[in-house]
C-alpha cells in the first residue's frame, strides 16, 4: 500500500537508537513492515528523550499534586496557583549534547526551547535561570565551551527579552566531554487562560506557525538520508541554529492569537518537531490527525517526508484552530511576519496519516505511537554507602585565612559575575533580586506580589549518596526560597545521569529520585514539570549524577524580600539551625 523506499536493516535500526526487540514490537503493532517515514516516526517517538522509557516508572513515584498545583507533569510546563486568579508556569529542560558540539547554538536553542514551552501554555515568560556544568578549567575544550554556552544563553534570552535571575555554574572533570546546560523559564498566565495540547473536535484545521522547516537536527539519520543527498560533497551539519528574533515574534503572535479565541490546542515543536507535536495533540484528544507535508513551509528543496517529520528546526508551533476564526488568526500571523499554513486536519479514526506528493507515506495508530512505547524497569544496584570519614584523619589547615582565600579562588566558589553580567537581568523592570543573591526575585507585574526562583544541586553529594544528595538538592532550594522571604510553592527538575543500562548508573538515578521525591513530599513542594537527560557519558565515563532542582516561591509583598548583603555596620550576626 505504501511504497517502502528504503530497506530497514539492523544497522539502520541501531543507528536510530532502537533495539531489535523494539523493532519487533513495531512489526507486531502495525502488522507489516513500516515505511521509512513510519520508521523515522517510531524512532522519534520511542527514543529515550520523547518516551522516557527508562525513567517513566520512577517518575511516577514523585509527588506531583498539591492544593496549588493546577497542572502537573505531562504538559509543556507545570502550572501553579499564585492567588488572585494568577498562575506561574514553569519548567526546566536540558540541551547538553548539542551544547557540547556547538556551544553557542546549543545553549541558545536550549533557552529557546524552554521559553517556547512556557508561552505555548499561554504564559508570558518573566524569568529565566540556567544551571551549567563544565569540565575542568584547564581541560582543552572547557574555555571554548564555557564562553560559547554563556554567550549563547545570553544571546538568546537577551534578544527575546526575559530577565535571567539565577543559575549555577560548576566545574568537574566528569563533565570534560559532556557539559550540562539546563535552562529554566517561568511565565505568568491567568488561571482561566491556560492553553493545553489536547486536540478537540473532528475536522478542525491543524495549523503550522513559525519558522520554515529545514534539515536541522535530522541527526541520527544522517547516514540514511545521505543516500538522498545531492551535494554529498559537503556533509550536512545537523546543528540547529537559534533565531531569537523569530521566537520573540512567535511568542507575541501566539499570545495575541490566544486572545482571539481561535486556539483549541497548541503544542510547540521541540525534538522531532512535527511528529511529536502532532501525535501528542491527537492522542491526548482521542483523535486522528492527517498531515499534508506539501503544505508545510520548507526552507530547503527536495526535503523528504522522513526529513520533515524528524526535523528539529526551531521556533515552530503546531495548533488546532477554530475554523471560523481563520481570518483573525491570519491577521495575527501576517502582522508578526510569520510563516503559517493549514497543513492538516483532525479526524475521528485515531490514525496518524501523513501525505506527500499525493501519496500516503505514513498511516499509523496514533494512540499506540505513544501509549505502546517501550517502558523499562531497568536493573539497578544501590550505590554503596561511602565509608564514614573520621574528622581526626583530616589535618586542620595551618592558616585559616590562607585556606579561605584559596577556597574563594577555586573555580566552584569564585564569583559568577563574569557569567551573569552577560545576561540581561533587569529587563521588564520587575527584578527585585538579580543574580548574586540566594534566589532571584521578581515582582508580579502590576501587583505587590513577588516570585522567587532558585536552581540547586550538589552533584558530589549525589555521587557519594544519591538518596541523601537528592534530598539535599531539594532542601537547599527550599532554604534558598525561605531566606529571601518566600513561601516555597513547587519545583521542576532536570535529571542528568549517565547510561541507564548500567545498573550502577540506574542505581544513582533511583536513589536520587527517591531522595528528592521524599524531600519534596515532606517540604510540600510538589514537582510540576521536569526533564530527564540520560546517556551523559564520554568513552564510558559517566558524569556525576546531577539532578538539578528548580524551585519557585511566592512572596505576598515583594518589598519584604530580603537580600544577602550586610546592611549596616554593627549589626549582629546570628547563626540559626544545626
Amino acid at each position: 500500500m505504501i511504497p517502502t523506499e528504503i530497506k530497514i536493516t539492523p544497522e539502520l535500526i541501531a543507528s536510530h537508537g532502537l533495539k531489535p526487540e523494539e523493532y519487533e514490537h513495531i512489526l507486531e503493532l502495525i502488522g507489516r513492515e513500516p515505511t521509512f517515514t513510519e520508521f523515522g516516526i517510531f524512532s522519534a517517538m520511542w527514543n529515550e528523550h520523547c518516551s522516557y522509557k527508562s525513567s517513566k516508572l520512577w517518575l511516577r513515584t514523585l509527588p506531583t499534586k498539591g492544593p496549588r498545583v493546577l497542572q502537573g507533569p505531562g504538559e509543556n510546563a507545570g502550572v501553579v496557583d499564585i492567588d488572585d486568579g494568577q498562575t506561574v508556569v514553569f519548567k526546566m529542560e536540558s540541551h547538553n549534547h548539542p551544547s557540547y558540539i556547538e556551544p553557542y547554538q546549543g545553549a541558545a536553542t536550549g533557552v529557546g526551547g524552554i521559553l517556547r514551552d512556557v508561552f505555548t501554555m499561554g504564559a508570558r515568560p518573566v524569568a529565566a535561570m540556567n544551571a551549567l556544568r563544565f569540565g575542568m578549567p584547564d581541560h582543552e575544550r572547557t574555555r571554548h565551551v564555557v564562553s560559547g554556552v554563556v554567550a549563547g544563553v545570553g544571546g538568546y534570552g537577551n534578544c527575546f527579552g526575559v530577565p535571567t535571575v539565577g543559575g549555577e555554574v560548576d566545574f568537574h572533570p566528569s563533565y570534560n566531554g559532556n557539559c550540562l546546560v539546563n535552562a529554566f523559564a517561568a511565565g505568568l498566565a491567568d488561571a482561566d487562560k491556560i492553553f493545553l495540547s489536547e486536540a478537540k473536535g473532528v475536522g478542525m484545521p491543524v495549523v503550522y506557525l513559525g519558522a520554515k522547516t529545514g534539515r536541522d537536527g535530522v541527526g541520527g539519520a544522517t547516514m540514511a538520508s545521505s543516500e538522498f543527498d545531492d551535494d554529498s560533497a559537503e556533509k550536512r551539519p545537523t546543528v540547529q541554529v537559534g533565531d531569537p528574533f523569530s521566537e520573540k515574534r512567535l511568542m507575541e503572535a501566539t499570545l495575541e492569537l490566544m486572545t482571539t479565541g481561535a486556539v483549541i490546542a497548541i503544542q510547540d515543536m521541540g525534538a522531532a518537531g512535527l511528529t511529536c507535536s502532532a501525535v501528542e495533540m491527537g492522542a491526548k484528544g482521542n483523535l486522528g490527525i492527517d498531515l499534508d507535508l506539501n503544505k508545510v513551509p520548507v526552507r530547503e528543496e527536495n526535503m523528504t517526508p522522513y526529513e520533515m517529520m524528524l526535523s528539529e528546526s526551531q521556533e515552530r508551533m503546531l495548533m488546532v484552530l477554530h475554523p471560523d476564526k481563520r481570518e483573525a488568526a491570519e491577521a495575527v500571523f501576517r502582522k508578526w511576519e510569520l510563516d503559517f499554513a493549514e497543513c492538516g486536519m483532525t479526524t475521528d479514526n485515531l490514525r496518524f496519516r501523513v501525505y506527500h506528493n499525493g501519496e500516503k507515506v505514513a498511516d499509523l495508530p496514533i494512540k499506540k505511537l505513544g501509549d505502546d512505547a517501550p517502558e523499562y524497569d531497568r536493573p539497578w544496584i544501590e550505590t554503596p554507602k561511602p565509608a564514614k570519614l573520621d574528622p581526626a584523619t583530616v589535618p586542620a589547615p595551618a592558616d585559616l585565612l590562607e585556606s579561605l582565600v584559596k577556597m574563594v579562588g577555586t573555580p566552584d566558589l569564585s564569583s559568577r559575575r563574569w557569567v551573569w553580567e552577560q545576561y540581561d537581568t533587569m529587563i521588564q523592570g520587575n527584578t527585585k533580586q538579580r543574580p548574586g543573591g540566594d534566589a532571584g526575585v521578581i515582582r508580579v507585574d502590576g501587583t505587590q506580589k513577588g516570585l522567587a526562583f532558585t536552581v540547586d544541586v550538589t552533584p558530589r553529594y549525589c555521587k557519594a549518596d544519591p538518596f541523601e544528595g537528592g534530598k539535599q538538592a531539594v532542601a537547599e532550594s527550599w532554604r534558598n526560597l525561605n531566606v529571601v522571604g518566600a513561601e516555597p510553592l513547587a519545583t521542576t527538575d532536570n535529571l542528568n545521569f549517565g547510561n541507564p543500562e548500567k545498573p550502577e548508573i540506574m542505581g544513582q538515578f533511583v536513589g536520587c529520585i527517591k531522595g528528592l521525591g521524599q524531600a519534596c513530599e515532606m517540604l510540600n513542594m510538589p514537582i510540576v514539570s521536569g526533564n530527564v537527560s540520560l546517556y551523559n557519558e564520554t568513552s564510558g565515563e559517566a558524569i556525576l549524577p546531577t539532578p538539578a532542582i528548580g524551585a519557585v516561591g511566592l512572596l505576598p509583598d515583594v518589598d519584604m524580600a530580603i537580600g544577602n548583603g550586610f546592611v549596616a555596620e554593627g549589626d549582629a550576626l546570628i547563626l540559626v539551625g544545626g
Binding site: 519558522a211 529545514g214 534539515r215 551535494d231 559537503e234 546543528v239 541554529v241 528574533f245 526552507r299 526551531q314
Partner: protein
C-alpha cells in the same frame, strides 16, 4: 603578506541574518531578490613572506579559531 579569509555558513544551516536582510530588501522595494546569505571576511596582515607557509598557517588559524567548522566553511585567498 595580506590574506582574506571568507567564512560562510554551510548549506542548509539556518541563516537568520540573511533571512532578515532578504525581508528588509523586499520591504524597501527591491524585488527579485531570491536569497541572501551573510558571512564574514577576515583580513589578515602576516609577517610571513613564503606563500606556502602562510597558506598552511592560515588554514590552521581557520580550523582553530576563525571558522566554526561545525556550521561554517572557509576559504583562504592570499592577496
Amino acid at each position: 603578506m595580506k590574506a582574506r579569509i571568507t567564512v560562510t555558513l554551510k548549506n542548509g544551516v539556518l541563516d537568520p541574518q540573511g533571512k532578515a536582510i532578504e525581508g528588509a530588501l523586499g520591504a524597501l522595494g527591491f524585488d527579485g531578490v531570491d536569497s541572501v546569505r551573510q558571512g564574514k571576511v577576515i583580513d589578515i596582515a602576516l609577517a610571513d613572506t613564503d606563500k606556502d607557509t602562510a597558506q598552511t598557517r592560515l588554514s590552521d588559524m581557520c580550523e582553530k579559531l576563525l571558522a566554526n567548522t561545525v556550521i561554517e566553511n572557509y576559504q583562504i585567498e592570499i592577496l
